[in-house]
Amino acid sequence: MIDLILKTALVLFMLAIALSLYRVIKGPSLPDRAIALDTIGVNLISAIAIVSIVLNTKAFLEAILILGILAFIGTIAFSKYIERGVIVERKSAD
């Protein structure tokens, strides 16, 4: 029973990712796409968590944490790119 619920949840998360992918592809603006990728990352965190319950293992907790950090950093990088056009700024413009 629990297994069925978990699998159903996984399918739903995947559908959410699919819908986010539609946003990534369609846009129309850049921030839309960046937010959609962020959403995909968050959905993946949840999905990995459920998979670790299904597989009954603790091995993927690091992956969840890393993904959380990376999704955040990635979104920041995109935002900065959208705002400034560059990611790493230098003090003296050459």
Partner: protein, 803 residues
């Protein structure tokens, strides 16, 4: 031992030349060089009596014994003739060159090349091993190339050298292939052993191909039709070189090869017709073309071609004796071979003298164009004597040695018509006729040499220097040669007995008696025979035709210049350059897309083609695990993302979609229980995305390129084919279960390596070598990026690469 020395000594001397040259500036370098051939000639001459008694001298040194390649020197009658010619004419030519070349020329180069050539040529004639023979053969080509282009500041010299090199080396490579076939057929590289096991070779399927390839090498080297075109162009070399290489020695290397391989191939119909037919054609064509030349050296070049054809033809006729083995009838035909060897020596004497004569004229007058020469008889009487004797001998007049060889040649051609073999009874009658016509032309050009140079009116205003007799030193060598021309006529049987009959024994090793094959040469038989009438006809018609030369000369204009063999050669060379250039430019067009197309098409054709050919594609879903619905949805997501990348309009969309793909892959790693991979994949994916974003600043916006429909279709087809190939191979590999996986071993990682994380123990312990090198890869990449960023040229700075 002495035989080996004669090969090594010239090379040794060549190596020493730079030291001698820098030490003794005042003495002409030629005097030192002269010692080498004179010493060798004297040593070899002491062997004559023992070789005449049938002794052979063999000495083997191991070179590459595992391949059967040994330096085996072999001195028999045939090698004796050639090595005496090489060292003898070599001495005379070097003596002549001392007076011909001034010390202002780069003599150290000249004599170094000449000694190289001499050593290589001795190596060719004294080697028993086919591979060693080939090595020396190519060395003669190379040194001849260097000598032709001795005055390398002249364009014609360079062109002539290139042409000679191209043609002779092409033939040499063909010959190498022939030698290798002989090796396959017989299992040995040694000529003596091949001759000893003739049955094996002659029954092999490689016999005829090997014969044709070896002949190709011989014909190119000896300037036989249609490969003779390099020889007239090689006349750009200094005259001593022309006299030595292009009349007496190198062009006879092909003759030597034919003579040496006659015991192997002779007696076969193809061999008979190829050698004698090509020889006869060359004889006619060379003499016919010599008449139209205005340059004395070109005339002599064509006459050399013609005479080489004569010798070749005689060797072909002589090989008929081998067809049915030894018998009293077949021995008659060996006399053609005897005539060939006899004329070989005669030709070297008179042609060497004639070349030296032309060199003297050129040296003292400044031109060798017969339209500008004339009336030199009274001014250069000694040179005139050389010209008359040399030309008369070449034309085949008594009392010179050319007469004897010409008579023997006519005898041989007449005899061959009686042979009921190789369909000779019908076409054979052509032999004496063509030979006779060619002799008439020979007579005409010999007359031209003498008459146009020494008779008529002198034209002082058209000469570069006031004409006067040559210095004494220059005349020594040609006089020694014409002494031989006369001497051989008077005592032909001395030569026949001591030099020629041992050589006959090496050409016909299976014939029991040498005495039968050595005819007694007599200048006057005491009766009038057909040959004598033919010679009389040659003289009569020759004089007649020379008198009316102006009338029939226009027939040479019948052949337009664009139809000559030379023009054909030029056209083949230039058009092959053009075609290959165009073909290369067509496929190497600098467009990366095309190169990818080649790679992928090749990949698909080879891999998919082989898999289909071997019927290796198989798909057996019975062992597959269950596919969960959420996996299916994610696969669908990935497919959509991947397809969307192709149609994305902005770079940033591409990067985002790529990120989606990367994260999805990480999720699959999770599902397939690979936590370490998932972690790494996530980090790497994020870093890659960030790097893409970093470089965007420097990239242009994505543009819609215009691509033609067919090209687009081709690209799509190739992409699908590559994808399908990889997928099908992946599926086929799934079913590969011939061996047990070795992962069971690693599962015991805690006991074996002290770690529970099996992936990490493999990376850090079991297979740490890979890890180390991958760290190195990352290190190199980092270093590379750092240098690319740091070492870029500043504005207006020179390019780093060109510093």
């Amino acid at each position: 031992m002495i035989v080996v020395l004669s090969i090594v000594l010239p090379f040794l001397a060549a190596a020493l030349i730079p030291f001698i040259y820098s030490r003794f500036k005042k003495v002409h370098l030629g005097w030192f060089v002269l010692v080498v051939p004179v010493v060798l000639f004297s040593i070899l001459a002491t062997y004559i009596p023992r070789v005449a008694n049938g002794e052979v001298f063999v000495k083997t040194f191991e070179w590459i014994p595992s391949f059967g390649i040994n330096i085996t020197t072999y001195l028999d009658g045939l090698s004796m003739i050639f090595s005496l010619l090489i060292t003898g004419v070599g001495s005379l030519v070097i003596l002549y060159s001392i007076f011909y070349l001034s010390t202002k020329e780069s003599l150290h180069h000249f004599y170094c090349y000449l000694l190289l050539f001499m050593g290589a040529m001795l190596g060719v004639v004294l080697s028993d091993n086919l591979m060693v023979l080939y090595v020396f053969w190519e060395l003669t080509s190379v040194s001849s190339f260097l000598l032709i282009a001795f005055w390398h500041h002249r364009k014609a010299s360079r062109a002539g050298a290139r042409k000679a090199m191209t043609i002779t080396v092409s033939g040499g490579v063909a010959m190498l292939a022939g030698f290798l076939m002989l090796y396959v057929a017989s299992g040995t590289f040694s000529i003596r052993e091949i001759v000893a096991n003739l049955d094996v070779v002659q029954s092999s399927a490689y016999f005829v191909p090997a014969m044709c390839l070896v002949l190709l090498g011989a014909f190119t080297k000896s300037a036989q039709f249609p490969f003779h075109i390099w020889l007239p162009d090689a006349m750009e070399a200094p005259t001593p070189v022309s006299a030595y290489l292009h009349s007496a020695t190198m062009v006879k290397a092909g003759i030597y090869l034919v003579a040496r391989t006659t015991p192997i191939f002779g007696g076969h119909e193809v061999w008979f017709w190829a050698v004698s037919g090509v020889g006869l054609l060359t004889l006619f064509w060379g003499s016919f073309n010599a008449v139209k030349q205005f340059d004395l050296k070109a005339l002599l070049a064509y006459s050399t071609i013609s005479q080489l054809g004569l010798i070749m033809c005689l060797f072909g006729l002589g090989s008929a004796a081998l067809h049915s083995g030894y018998s009293t009838e077949s021995v008659i035909y060996t006399q053609a071979t005897f005539a060939a060897l006899f004329h070989l020596i005669n030709h070297s004497t008179f042609k060497g003298a004639l070349f030296m004569m032309v060199g003297i004229v050129d040296h003292e007058v400044g031109t060798r164009d017969i339209r500008r020469l004339g009336g030199l008889m009274s001014l250069m009487p000694f040179t005139f004597t050389i010209a008359v004797i040399g030309s008369a001998s070449m034309a085949g007049l008594p009392p010179f040695n050319g007469f004897l060889s010409k008579e023997m040649f006519f005898t041989a051609t007449l005899k061959i018509t009686e042979l009921d073999l190789f369909s000779l009874n019908s076409i054979g009658v052509l032999f004496p006729i063509i030979a006779w016509v060619a002799s008439i032309f020979t007579f005409i050009y010999c007359v031209i040499i003498v008459m146009r140079t020494f008779f008529g009116k002198i034209q002082p205003d058209r000469l570069e220097k006031p004409p006067h007799e040559a210095p004494f030193g220059m005349l020594i060598s040609p006089y020694i040669l014409i002494a031989f021309v006369v001497g051989i006529f008077i005592f032909p049987n001395v030569l026949g007995h001591y030099i020629l009959s041992p050589a006959m024994a090496s050409i016909y090793p299976m014939f029991p008696s040498v005495e039968d094959m050595t005819p007694h040469i007599a200048a006057w038989h005491g009766y009038i025979n057909t040959e004598l009438i033919m010679t009389a006809g040659v003289i009569l018609l020759g004089v007649l035709l020379y008198r009316v030369l102006k009338k029939w000369r226009p027939i040479y204009q019948l052949i337009p210049p664009s139809f000559t063999l030379n023009a054909l050669y030029e056209r083949v060379i230039t058009s092959s350059e053009n075609v290959s250039g165009r073909a290369t430019n067509r496929y190497m067009n600098g467009n990366l897309t095309y190169y990818f197309v080649y790679i992928y098409v090749f990949f698909v054709a080879l891999l998919a083609g082989y898999m289909i050919y071997a019927d290796a594609f198989s798909w057996n879903p019975s062992k597959d695990s269950v596919i969960e619905p959420y996996e299916l949805v994610l696969v669908f997501v990935m497919i959509m993302a991947a397809v969307a990348i192709i149609f994305a309009k902005q770079r940033i969309t591409v990067v985002l979609l790529n990120g989606v793909l990367g994260y999805s892959v990480a999720f699959f790693f999770v599902v397939f229980r690979a936590p370490d991979l998932a972690l790494t994949q996530l980090v790497v994916e994020s870093v890659t995305t960030a790097l893409f974003l970093l470089s965007f600043k420097y990239l242009p916006k994505l543009k819609n390129e215009y691509i033609s429909k067919s090209w687009r279709f081709a690209k799509i087809t190739i992409s699908i084919a590559v994808g399908a190939t990889v997928t099908l191979i992946g599926l086929a590999v799934m079913n590969y279960d011939r061996f047990e996986p070795i992962s069971k071993y690693f599962e015991d990682s805690y006991n074996l390596a002290g770690g529970q994380n099996i992936v990490n123990t493999i990376l850090g312990d079991f297979r740490a070598f890979d890890t180390m090198l991958e760290v190195v890869v990352l290190f190199i990449a980092g270093l590379g990026i750092y240098t690319l960023i740091k070492l870029k040229a500043k504005k207006g700075d020179a390019d780093v690469e060109s510093k």
